[in-house]
């Protein structure tokens, strides 16, 4: 573990001292766990720092008394440190916002989280009364819970195999797949499910809002429950070919819906976009949105030269029919 700097240690000690004093000789182990204070540093700080802290004139009765046995620890005579610091209004605001965001999802959360919502609501009520009963000025709305979220969570919990009808972004068509959901997460206002896809024999990330139908199958899973929690294969953009496009600066807001695009300002009039092409449909969508003023500077070899005009013509067909 990284060594704490003096600010961090002080901040933590100001909470640790009143807590130890309020307990009757707690176990050192518990202090370490509660405050995430590495044991060696805790002992050292208590014995070699706190032991010398006190108030004028630093006679024995004006010094904090620390005693540590093999397992337990006592702090006495630290009257001025009898209470931890106040929760700042900022901390209170964040805590309430996080709690309220979660409560808003009640009914569509994994069971082990649902179980915590009762105590959470009690805690939020106390904090809200403490805050003068006012509305919290910070509000976090997670992605709208979609109707399939709950079914997928059940599948994760019960380890079932499900069949989904999924709108494939890269082909713009519906496909039927058997998947073994591993975990759900929200990113950029959307819910995703990470799953083992039995149809393509690979781990995939699906957008929950693109799932049309779910059917629970009477099959046994081939894969184990999730082991690695950070496997966002879908978000690994390095594998994709990159197109470089220049657009007028005034059109910058057009790329808002495309979070994977990097851009740099190259002059007072233009920005240059670097676009990882995850699928041709995605790229076609982008080109239609950017319109005729976008200049295609570099296009990967696998993209045909008339890709953009062909895309426009195909859509125009439905308007002309």
């Amino acid at each position: 573990m990284r060594k704490m700097n003096s600010s961090e240690r002080i901040k933590r000690l100001l909470s640790v001292l009143p807590w130890i004093e309020s307990q009757n000789g707690p176990f050192v182990e518990e202090v370490v766990a509660r405050f995430d204070y590495p044991q060696k540093e805790l002992i050292e700080d208590l014995e070699n720092v706190v032991f010398f802290v006190g108030i004028y004139p630093f006679t024995p009765d004006c010094l904090i008394e620390v005693s540590i046995t093999e397992e337990r620890v006592w702090v006495r005579y630290a009257d001025w440190f009898r209470q931890p610091m106040k929760l700042s209004k900022r901390e209170l605001t964040s805590l309430r916002a996080a709690g309220e965001a979660l409560i808003a999802f009640s009914g569509s959360l994994p069971e082990e989280i649902e179980d915590e919502l009762g105590p959470l609501e009690r805690a939020l009520t106390k904090l809200s009364i403490f805050d003068g009963g006012s509305e919290n000025p910070l509000e976090i709305k997670l992605a709208t819970p979609t109707k399939h979220l709950l079914e997928i969570q059940k599948s994760i919990k019960n380890e079932t195999v499900i069949q989904i009808e999924y709108l494939v972004g890269s082909r713009n068509e519906i496909s039927t797949r058997k998947i073994e959901p591993k975990k759900i997460f929200a990113d950029g206002g959307k819910w995703y499910v990470q799953a083992y896809c039995k149809s393509s024999l690979a781990s995939k990330t699906f957008r929950v809002d693109r799932i049309k139908e779910i059917k629970v199958l009477n099959e046994v899973r081939e894969t184990k429950p999730v082991d690695d929690s950070d496997d966002k294969d879908f978000f690994n953009l390095e594998q994709f070919p990159v197109a470089v496009i220049e657009i007028p600066i005034k059109d910058k807001q057009l790329i808002e819906g495309f979070p994977n695009i990097n851009f740099e300002k190259i002059s007072d009039e233009k920005i240059r976009l670097s676009c990882p092409i995850a699928s041709e449909v995605w790229f076609r969508h982008l080109l239609m949105v950017l319109g005729a003023e976008a200049e295609l500077i570099e296009i990967p070899a696998e993209i045909e030269s008339d890709f953009r005009s062909k895309g426009a013509r195909e859509i125009l067909k439905i308007y002309n029919s």
Partner: protein, 301 residues
């Protein structure tokens, strides 16, 4: 004396005192902590003070009673320092800890409030959603918490507003605020605020009116309103309705496709949505928007 020992003794001295202490009294009361050289003492003391204030410790500068000429001194008032939050039981703290782990604001110190509540014994839960931060959030938060009027530029106009709420919705941050010139509540997208937010010292009376931001598609926020009809093929209908949410107004046709009736106040954003269907959607009405789509596509081909 070690730095951490000096800082803890400084906090002790300032917390335990009944009346403010001058800088020089502080040096006398913590023997061995500070240099005898006045200039280097002053510098170290200033740095210490800044460091403690950065930790949120409320060090006040106030006049020392019965000094003539008047002399200023420092103290930490216990009433400003000591925790007075309600007692939460361990279940409640654990639930709050879980919530703040699952949903947290990027850059927030997650642990500090829990240390103040006596720490937690459970491990960290994996994040369900990390809410991206924005450079303007801290100044907005300060204005919200202290009820301060702010100025900023938005859509080429200087705005003077009283902030009401900061809302994160659909991956964007909005500031809900009372616009003093327009005399109405307005929603401002934080990423569209031009330049910095200027914080004034003018306090306002917070309003008790709650203006709800409903989770709505982004094209419904804006100035000029259009009523649009968009035909979407069967293959994409379910997805489109999911995106729009429960408030979608639509009719279903015999072949399973739908005609969506949508209120659009930001045409550019809606056009992006229309193109996400490529040739699986056709904009029917109003005629000028249909024409705009056709013109746009014809200029591309």
């Amino acid at each position: 004396m070690k730095k951490i020992e000096r800082l803890l003794n400084l906090i002790s001295a300032l917390l335990a005192t009944e009346k403010p202490l001058s800088r020089h009294t502080i040096r006398e009361r913590i023997p061995g902590a500070y240099s005898e050289n006045d200039e280097s003492f002053r510098r170290t003391f200033e740095r210490d003070k800044d460091e403690l204030r950065a930790l949120g410790i409320p060090i006040h500068l106030e006049q020392i009673p019965a000094t003539d000429p008047p002399l200023d001194g420092y103290r930490i008032r216990q009433s400003d320092y000591e925790a007075d939050h309600p007692v939460l039981d361990s279940e409640e703290i654990a639930a709050l800890h879980l919530a703040s782990n699952l949903v947290h604001l990027e850059g927030d110190d997650l642990d500090s409030p829990f240390y103040k509540m006596g720490g937690v014994l459970q491990g960290k839960a994996p994040t369900l959603s990390e809410i991206p931060s924005e450079s303007l959030i801290e100044v907005c938060m300060q204005a919200l918490i202290e009820h301060l009027t702010i100025f900023f530029n938005y859509k080429n106009e200087r705005r003077e507003v009283n902030p009401d709420r900061l809302v994160f919705s659909g991956s964007k941050w909005y500031l809900v605020a009372y616009d003093k010139n327009r005399q109405n509540i307005r929603h401002f997208r934080l990423d569209r605020i031009e330049g910095e937010i200027e914080l004034t010292s003018e306090k306002f009376e917070p309003s008790d009116k709650v203006s709800e931001i409903i989770q709505e598609p982004p094209w419904r926020f804006g100035e000029e309103e259009k009523l649009i009809e968009l035909k979407i093929n069967k293959s994409h209908a379910a997805w489109a309705l999911e995106v729009i949410g429960t408030k979608a107004v639509y009719e279903e046709l015999a072949d399973g496709s739908i005609i969506l009736h949508e209120v659009v106040r930001d045409w550019e954003i809606f056009r992006t949505f229309v193109f996400s269907f490529l040739d699986a959607a056709e904009l029917l009405k109003p005629i000028e928007c249909r024409k705009a789509i056709i013109d746009w596509l014809e200029s591309i081909q």
